[in-house]
Amino acid sequence: MNEAIRHIRTISKRELISYFSSPVAYVFIVIFLILCGFFTLNIGRFFESNQATLAAFFFYLPWLYLFLVPAIGMRLWSEERRMGTMELLLTMPVTSWRAILGKFLASWLFLALALVLTFPLVITVNYLGDPDNGMIVSGYVGGILLSGGFLAVGSMTSALTRNQVVSFILSVIICLFLILAGFAPVTEMLEDKVPWLIDLVSSFSVMTHYYGMQRGVINLRDVIFFLSLIVFALFCTGVIIRSHRA
């Protein structure tokens, strides 16, 4: 077990070194922060609303993640396959689940770091007014879980192909489905046509489970949903990687 943790840490460390020794990491963080600011302050009409809240930020976050997380996830395994380093990695004395988990955790940590770097927004609302900081913390927890879920989907689609563009598009489509299944306009439409299906469909949506955290409620059920989404997608990643070699 000890060895497994050491291996996962080593693989994560390597992944992070790769991120930060190429411009990818910096470009991503800058774009992410600019978009966060833009959506919260301009589109979200932060100043006009005259309320000390980050509700707009957390409202737009899933839509930002829809495009930005697959951009991080798409290279996870397709790059390894294209460069041939997958052969190197998987013939080391490590099991493939350690490699999958190590790479996933590194990217997740990176996404969490990018999210934490939006802290000036938190300082701003606290300076301007008296926001509910518990709600903000729970929103951040939701954001991290959401990015983990999308990233795990990205890990799965990147294992499918050595072409990063294909991987990106596939994972955007899957993530879009995960959002839309619980998105108000879609659920309202379903309510009219097939009311009996609505609970089932929306229970698959990240939005249903993210909603509570956006409102300041961290529900164990919602946390479990995101964790099972991650576990399931990573498990699929493992199956896909194994099937490539068989």
């Binding site: 060895e3 693989i11 790769s18 020794s21 190197l88 013939t91 004395p93």
Partner: protein, 316 residues
């Protein structure tokens, strides 16, 4: 140390490796030879556990590659084809990564890295990003990761591919030296490499082993092996032919021209003629007849001829 038994692998309906068995013991360097697409890489990928075989087994130092993959992999180092690397890392970071996965930490890790850096002459590029390196350095970096834990078993897929002649020589000498106390398998399609570094050769063609022996044994299969090559400056070929053909031990004579256009004679021995007998017989005749011999040489046979004989080119 490496026991490969009835290994079979097919991709769809195409059988890539068909019932391949061989053993490699400590102190042996096995050269894996074959035309492109013969199944060399696939076999090596199964030996290293990257591909699971459809049938058969790989046992490394007593550990089965399917059941005890981690233990088996710990014993071996692997240099995959084309030497893949994480291009955005520095050489040092990459070797540090490999050492950590091999279980090194602290001072031991630094020692292991230092050892391979010295062995592979990587000192001058140690903190350079891998994607700025020349092919030779990249290849040596990948080689360094394969031997960082000083493994008992070393598997290399075309270790000299893309290197210049000096680097090729360097790697061959390294393989030969390491082969004294390790079990090594390497694949190549360069025949001189096999003669220079291998203690045993396996030739594989269309997934099957078609020859297995020492380089000398394989060369002995060549049709010209044992024949004597003769060049005489003073007499006409016809005259020499006339004198030699009645000799006991001579089966056949063949005149040919070498690359420089000089006329030579190849004398083929009878089956029962011993090693070197024919050459001494010819030199005695030459002495008696006062020939001026410019070249007299017993052929060992040529590996490339044997190779062409027993494998089938995909261009035919």
């Amino acid at each position: 140390m490496i026991n490969v038994d009835n290994l079979t692998k097919s991709f769809g309906s195409k059988v890539a490796v068909d019932n391949v068995s061989f053993n490699v013991e400590r102190g042996e360097v096995l050269g894996f030879l074959g035309p492109n697409g013969a199944g060399k890489s696939t076999t090596m990928r199964m030996v290293t556990g990257y591909f699971p075989p459809n049938d058969g087994s790989v046992v490394i130092g007593g550990f089965n590659m399917v059941e005890n993959a981690l233990e088996a992999r710990r014993l071996m180092g692997y240099l995959p084809e084309n030497g893949p690397l994480y291009a955005d890392m520095t050489v040092y970071n990459f070797l540090d990564f490999a050492a950590e996965l091999r279980g090194f930490s602290g001072i031991e890790k630094r020692k292991a890295i230092h050892r391979v850096v010295e062995m592979c002459f990587l000192e001058s590029v140690l903190h350079q990003s891998i994607d700025t390196l020349s092919k030779g350095y990249r290849h040596r970096t990948c080689f360094a990761q394969a031997v960082i834990h000083d493994p008992d078993i070393l598997i290399m897929d075309e270790p000299t591919d893309g290197l210049d002649p000096n680097q090729k020589h360097e790697i061959r000498m390294l393989i030969k030296r390491m082969g004294e106390n390790k079990a090594i398998i390497f694949s190549t399609h360069i025949l001189e490499e096999v003669e220079a570094a291998c203690s045993r050769v396996i030739i594989i063609d269309r997934g099957k082993i078609v020859a297995n022996g020492t380089p000398a044994e394989l060369k002995g299969r060549s049709p010209i092996a044992g024949a004597v090559r003769l060049r005489v400056g003073s007499h006409a070929l016809e005259q020499i032919k006339e004198q030699l053909s009645p000799l006991p031990g001579v089966r056949r004579l063949e005149a040919f021209k070498d690359e420089a256009g000089r006329e030579l004679l190849r004398v083929f021995p009878q089956k029962e003629t011993g090693d070197g007998e024919l050459a001494s017989l010819i030199s005695e005749t030459a002495k008696k007849s006062d020939w001026r011999i410019e070249e007299l040489h017993t052929e060992e046979g040529r590996l490339d001829e044997v190779f062409r004989d027993i494998t089938i080119s995909d261009t035919e």
